[in-house]
């Protein structure tokens, strides 16, 4: 190189530098692996984003983590697939469209453009040729295709059931979207309504979803635990209690068959079919009166632990099969028809609600489990003893045995031997309700025909397109006759399309496969590529998706496997859940949330000067506490923003964002810049010259050791997502260089 020409600037001009390289990696194709070759392949994936506006520094951290890992892997010779796409359907787009008087598609497209600009500004790279958006018909036609295949196999079905209705959002919610009886989005009290809905039969895979968790060695333990609890397998028994004076028996399911000797009365849901039959004439009026007022309450209200216990004796008796005792049959509203069999064996000594009921109506209490060293007296017990720990008592041949799983199995065997009942496995997991009554989602490809019933749309007619109409606000497809008026594909008479759209979790349950064939119009994805490139080698996302998204994705993978489309059953080999970036959030009682940069001196509202309520919350649009990266990038450059963000702390923990340390990060990069540029000539001249460790002097050895320690540390840190300690190590190496030279 001609050293007399102007050398590199001594000033770290980050703007010029970053402009020069911004499009370089894309143009050189570094992030575009040839999927045909799979030696040293690595499929890296961040959970794809919801395009909801500008990304803040918290979002940024997710992408920067991925970009750092992928770049290091490419340097280590891996073929890295890191695709980007957008989870574009859903409520937020609809709500924003209403707020801004626009159409969800326009709002979404604008946000996607913003995302692309921000990624480019950050230097975060993906295989852009595989970019997809779930609201694109080229994508959602495959949601519809999957729906038809599941329907053929009986895994998609229609059922009338009590559903969660959110009056605020004007839509049905899945169980998982109801938190403590309220809508997770708008906080309205959720009602129960009877509606005919579409379900995916995820319960058909419950046992496999549970068992395969043991294969996921590289998933965080707590995510697996959350899934186990959600699937909620319990071993119990169904037991038959013959009715006195009738041929029928009351069948109950219980997870504690070991407490059967303590069943001193039965409780049926007021709506139970046997109630009318067994109620004796003297009790008919009271029972009917009680039943009609009981069903008026919502399920939520009936399940409240604090609810007053009410009930009515039917006059009928049942026999406890294990001891032949006659026990009275009551009805009460705390037992629901929709759960289990709609009838329970009441064990007041072992269940809190049964205990309260027995106390109120003066029914016998017989303890069957007590802690070692204690003796319970049914008449004087202050509360139920619910633990399965201690010793069995008052339980015939089982008295004296230790309470627990082993003894429970003995009870089940005893019931089975005598024909009184049988062991049963139940799951807490319910089938996945996928119907939504909103516009902005994938239309369900079914037709309702007066003559033929429910008719699937033939595959050749896919996609059923979302009509391009002016946005109607909260109304769904049921308000758009041009959409739903159709001729029956089977018999040709006038019929009506299904006007439900799919839960957007359907979109995100298989997108990681679609990336392989983003533009393929002939198939869902290329199975050979899928079998070669999946499971995803590293999946990164928030812990908030531990149950819903991850469980649905695992279910979809297994269903697709059983459809013959892939040869594996788990989509994600390694999972990393990063924490949130938090920031102070300010709220004025009167004027709502206030952005941090508008807060007046003394933490007061800019409009009324009232003191603000300050909390620490994860950055979000709704709380206006998201910090944009733009200011830091404008003042210090993208590299500094990247460095600072990753230096803040280990990503698995939540961390509070401050900009206090930004100057330190900027200073470090300037130090590196100066060191190299000041010695550029000498360094260039020495390129390629061999190292001779045998000739090292003492101070050489110090640097040599420090260098290798740094390489070792940083390499390991990258593998464990510890970018903060990696940066520290690089700062130390830089200091060592300054000491040396």
């Amino acid at each position: 190189m001609n050293t007399t020409t102007q050398g590199p600037s001594r000033v770290y001009d980050f703007n010029a530098i970053e402009a020069r390289w911004r499009d370089y990696w894309r143009e050189q194709g570094f992030f575009k692996p040839d999927l045909g070759h799979t030696e040293k392949k690595f499929y890296y994936l961040n959970m794809f984003p919801y395009p909801s506006g500008e990304m803040h520094v918290g979002h940024g951290r997710n992408w920067l983590i991925g970009d750092a890992i992928c770049r290091s892997l490419i340097m280590q010779g891996y073929r890295v697939l890191n695709p980007m796409g957008y989870d574009a359907f859903g409520l937020p787009a609809e709500n924003a469209a209403i707020d801004h008087q626009t159409h969800p598609k326009l709002w979404t497209d604008n946000n996607i453009k913003t995302f692309r600009r921000q990624f480019r500004q950050w230097g975060v790279e993906f295989d852009w040729d595989r970019e997809l958006s779930t609201c694109d018909p080229a994508y959602y036609r495959w949601n519809q295709w999957i729906f038809l295949q599941l329907h053929k196999k009986g895994l998609a079905y229609r059922d009338s059931s009590l559903v969660n209705w959110c009056p605020g959002c004007d839509t049905v919610l899945a169980n998982e979207q109801v938190i403590e009886g309220c809508c997770e989005r708008c906080d309205s009290f959720v009602e129960k309504k009877n509606l005919t809905q579409w379900f995916f039969k995820i319960t058909a895979y419950a046992q496999e979803l549970l068992d395969d968790l043991d294969k996921l060695e590289h998933w965080p333990q707590r995510v697996k635990t959350m899934q186990r609890n959600w699937i909620g397998r319990s071993e119990g028994a169904s037991i038959r209690f013959p009715l006195v004076g009738h041929d029928e028996a009351i069948e109950v399911f219980t997870t504690r068959p070991d407490t059967v000797f303590g069943a001193t009365f039965m409780v049926l849901a007021p709506e139970h079919p046997l109630v009318e039959k067994i109620t004796t004439p003297e009790h008919e009026r009271a029972v009917a009166a009680y039943a009609s007022q009981a069903v008026a309450a919502s399920e939520i209200e009936r399940l409240q632990l604090t609810r007053k216990k009410t009930g009515q004796f039917t006059g009928a008796y049942a026999l406890n099969p294990v001891n032949g005792e006659r026990i009275p049959v009551w009805i009460a509203d705390y037992v629901l028809l929709g759960y289990g069999t709609g009838a329970i064996m009441a064990v007041p000594a072992g269940d809190t609600r049964d205990f309260e009921f027995a106390k109120k109506f003066d029914l016998p209490i017989v303890p069957v489990v007590q802690p070692r060293g204690q003796t319970f007296d049914g008449a004087t017990m202050g509360e139920a003893y619910v633990a399965q720990e201690g010793v069995m008592v008052n339980s015939g041949p089982f008295s004296g045995m230790p309470a627990g799983e082993e003894t429970l199995k003995k009870f089940v065997a005893h019931l089975e031997e005598n024909g009184w009942g049988s062991g049963q496995v139940t799951f807490r997991l319910r089938d996945w309700l996928i119907s939504r009554q909103r516009y902005w989602g994938t239309p369900i490809p079914m037709v309702h025909c007066g003559a033929c019933g429910i008719v699937p749309i033939p595959e050749e007619q896919l996609p059923v397109l979302l009509p391009e109409v002016e946005f109607l606000g909260r109304k769904g497809l049921g308000e758009i006759p041009e959409f739903y008026e159709v001729l029956c594909p089977q018999c040709g008479i006038k019929a009506r399309r299904d006007t439900d759209t799919m839960d957007t979790f359907v979109d995100s349950s298989w997108y990681y496969l679609r990336y392989l064939s983003s533009h393929d119009d002939a198939q869902l994805f290329d199975s050979d590529l899928a079998n070669a490139w999946l499971p995803v080698d590293q999946y990164v996302g928030g812990i908030e998706h531990a149950i819903l998204h991850l469980l649905y994705s695992r279910f979809f993978t297994k269903a697709l496997r059983d459809l013959g489309l892939v040869n594996f059953g788990e989509p994600f080999a390694r999972l990393y859940t990063q924490g949130m970036i938090t920031h102070k959030a300010y709220r004025c009682k009167e004027h709502g949330w206030v952005a941090p940069n508008e807060v007046q001196q003394g933490e007061r509202c800019p409009r009324c000067t009232q003191p603000l309520n300050v909390t620490l919350a994860s950055m979000s649009k709704s709380k206006k506490n998201g910090i944009s990266p733009d200011e830091i990038i404008a003042r210090h450059g993208a590299d500094t923003e990247r460095l600072y963000t990753l230096f803040m702390g280990p990503p698995e923990r939540d961390i509070e964002w401050t900009s206090d340390g930004v100057r330190g990060a900027a200073r470090f990069l300037r130090r590196v810049w100066s060191f190299v540029t000041e010695r550029a000539g000498a360094l260039q001249a020495a390129q390629g010259s061999p190292l001779e460790p045998a000739q090292f002097k003492a101070h050489d050895k110090v640097l040599w050791r420090k260098l290798n320690l740094t390489i070792q540390t940083v390499t390991q840190d990258f593998e464990h997502f510890h970018f903060n300690t990696a940066v520290s190590a690089l700062m130390e190496l830089t200091n060592a260089l300054y000491d040396y030279a």
Binding site: I74, M75, G123, L643, V672, N708, T710, V714, L730, L733
Partner: protein, 115 residues
């Protein structure tokens, strides 16, 4: 040479986090023909971390003036450590013929020559 290797490693290790400055230093300032992403990941030499030597600082009147590597075998041999410290060229130059009044040795850490 070593400085070159160390600087290049620093740039390569920093680049996944700071890719812009990485490419600029690598390609523009140091005129490498390849991109950082094509340059490979720094290799680590485990023998560099072997502890068959220890590093001590040599002080004169409590101020660090030199560093020396000492074979681990001699780690606790105070006389050998003192001898080696006094033999360093840089120390000899500074002492300029003076003999230390007192020598403080902390094995594994330092030799302090009090004059």
């Amino acid at each position: 040479m070593l400085l070159n290797r160390a600087v290049e490693s620093l740039i390569l290790l920093l680049s996944p986090i700071c890719p812009f400055i990485g490419e600029e230093l690598w390609q523009t300032v140091l005129s490498h023909p390849d991109a950082v992403l094509a340059a490979g990941w720094p290799t680590f030499d485990p023998s560099a971390l072997q502890q068959d030597e220890q590093e001590l600082v040599v002080q004169i009147n409590g101020v660090v003036r030199e560093r020396m590597s000492v074979p681990s075998a001699l780690a606790n041999d105070r006389q050998a450590l003192e001898r080696q410290a006094l033999a360093l060229q840089g120390i000899q130059r500074r002492l300029d013929g003076r003999a230390p009044q007192k020598v403080i040795v902390v094995p594994g850490k330092l030799v302090n020559l009090v004059v």
